[in-house]
């Protein structure tokens, strides 16, 4: 199994490089880069603008910019004798603005050495922003995953046991409905009903705004979690209940269930102890992608509910062309997706001894 995991992780490397190149090219090739977006201020002088562009290196060819992002630029322009003046360069000119003075040596370490760069807008390291946002995203993601599982799985079991009954029909319709409702609209309607009309729940955000910007422990602000968790969980409830039902129907038809019934076990014991445990196996494969979605953030739900997570910062950074932040969110989401699928494959084999790695 170790070998299998290792091989899958090695296979992920070209995928990740492909993703980062694709995303970088897409952003880099579009006209009007971050400097244009940043220097919207008409009072800004052209010299200032040029100096900024030079600092950010946005005038370099896009492959060079990508390499700088990936590997840093300490090897692109360096200062070998330690006098503070660059004395050599590779790929980029040593004197980019032709003023006769060499530009200062490169300071970026690059993503491969753990340096995610700085946010152009917030003027601080991207790693700090991500670190701040991850807890909020995890909080929302984990709670909605749990809600999806704890509602979806029992609903699926009951629907299968009472196949064709009213409970089965209602949950079937609800599942299709949950899939057909746009997430953002469901959020809007819930905010309208519970926030605006009934005034029972807050209309958004993670906690009451404080001067320090921090949030109290989660148990003291559960009401803020209810609506976004439910909206994010609708997809999961629909998927888990449907697959659990199908898988449970498979299991119910098998001999050992009949044996269990013949032994005189009660219905509940047969369904939950004998049936549902085996029926959970195929459903476990969906956990991987769900865990992936959890870390990638939920751009729409987080935006609607002003939830300060990765998804929301991703959306706003795309709009502001804050490339370093966008890249971090995209790569994080991709890593989560790859690991999520890997976990689901491993989990599958662990639960079901009939499956072996090949």
């Amino acid at each position: 199994m170790f070998k299998y995991t290792l091989r899958r992780l090695i296979q992920a490397i070209p995928t990740l490089i492909g993703i980062s190149m694709f995303a970088y090219l897409l952003m880099g090739l579009s006209p009007g880069g971050p400097v244009k977006a940043l220097t919207f201020d008409p009072k800004m002088r052209p010299e200032q603008r040029e100096r900024l562009a030079l600092q950010l290196g946005v005038n370099d060819p896009i492959p060079v910019q990508y390499l700088r992002w990936l590997l840093g630029d300490t090897w692109m322009r360096w200062d070998s004798d330690g006098d503070g003046v660059s004395d050599g360069s590779f790929l980029i000119p040593i004197d980019a603005n032709n003023d006769g003075v060499p530009e200062p040596p490169g300071t970026r370490q690059g993503v491969l050495r753990g340096d995610w760069g700085r946010s152009i807008f917030e003027k601080r390291p991207v790693a700090d922003i991500i670190r701040e946002r991850v807890p909020a995203t995890l909080e929302l993601g984990i709670s909605s995953l749990l809600l999806g599982l704890f509602l979806g799985v029992p609903i699926g079991v009951l629907a299968a046991v009472r196949r064709g009954g009213w409970f089965d029909s209602i949950t079937r319709i609800t599942a299709v409905l949950f899939n057909a409702v746009p997430v953002f609209w469901l959020g809007l309607i819930l905010i309208l009903v519970f926030g605006s009309w009934l005034r029972l729940l807050p209309m958004g955000s993670r906690c009451p705004s404080t001067l320090t910007g921090g949030c109290p422990p989660i148990t003291q602000r559960l009401e803020y979690l209810i609506l976004p968790t439910f909206v994010l969980a609708t997809g999961g409830i629909a998927v888990y209940s449907r697959y659990m039902r199908a898988s449970m129907l498979d299991v119910i038809g098998q001999d050992y269930i009949r044996t269990a019934k013949a032994k005189g076990l009660s219905g509940r014991q047969v369904w939950f102890t004998h049936g549902a445990r085996n029926a959970l196996i195929p459903v476990a494969t969906f956990l991987g992608p769900s865990v992936a979605g959890l870390l990638g953030g939920a751009p729409i739900t987080e935006t609607i509910f002003s939830w300060p997570g990765l998804g929301r910062v991703g959306v706003s950074s795309v709009l502001q062309k804050d490339y370093n932040v966008v890249m971090a969110v995209v790569i994080l989401g991709a890593v989560a997706t790859i690991i999520g699928y890997l976990i689901s494959d491993i989990l599958y084999a662990l639960i079901d001894p009939r499956i072996r790695f090949s």
Binding site: G18, I19, M27, S30, N179, W185, I300, K321
Partner: protein, 315 residues
Amino acid sequence: MTAQTQDIINLSIKGQVEVGESLTTLALRRLRRDKLTIVALIVVATLVMLSVCAPLIERYVLHVDYTRTDISKAFLPMFAEGHILGTDDLGRDHLARLLYAGQISLGIAFTAAILSLVIGISLGIITGYYGGVLDDVIMWFISTLNSIPSFFLLLIVSAAIITNPDLNNTFLKGPFALVAFLGLLGWTGTTRLVRGETLSLREREFIISARAVGASPIRVMFIHIMPNLLSIVVITLALDIGSLILVESALSFLGLGVQAPLASWGNMLTNSQSFFNKGVHLVIVPGLMIVVTVLCLYVIGDGVRDAVDPMTVDK
């Protein structure tokens, strides 16, 4: 029709010979009996008709102009005089705008679904039929594309092109570009499905015999394999249009999809959070249009899947 087949038909009419039904006949018969699917079909057809006829309805039935703004008539409630569904924040007739938005939303989703189907089916058949390095490369590309959080991919594309203020290209900023992006990014699932199906069809006797009599690969792929994929195509089309409506509406809602002054069901909801107190119908109705359309498309997809499934038992 030969005399022999005519004989068999005559006999079968008299009930003397059992003629097996083709899967298509069987599927159509099952579909006709499936009331839910029929209702869904009728609803979608009605919505499409209403949207297509939006200019006529606007002019001869509603007697309004959906582009005319009139601040004095802003936020009229539902069933107000002359405006069945009231008016929006700029005093435009809500119903007329919804119909025009339907043109855009349905049109984008439909054409993008067709585009992604064409790409998905061609690539799926080719990779499934030839296999080898080509298959490996395309599968790698698909798994790479699928590892990017898909909504972010769309956001990046959209921010780089459709809503980029520094890009002065009317075509790239119009709804056609949106169709192209949605189509170009949405084919991976279809390709996987078709590839799997082609892999199993490739080994069947009728394909081997076609190749034995010298049919070219193109002929085998598109004359012999493709017709067997018809049911997949219909199901995927219905489900794809549904999910594309959802994606387009989400993008437009965030301001990254269909751009004003064009209306889509998604961008009609963009500022609706600030209308909570003034006009609730502006929040509810466009969303309901999306829900009803997508729901019906999903029901149709499921209905067709059940109808063509040979394992379905007729009651």
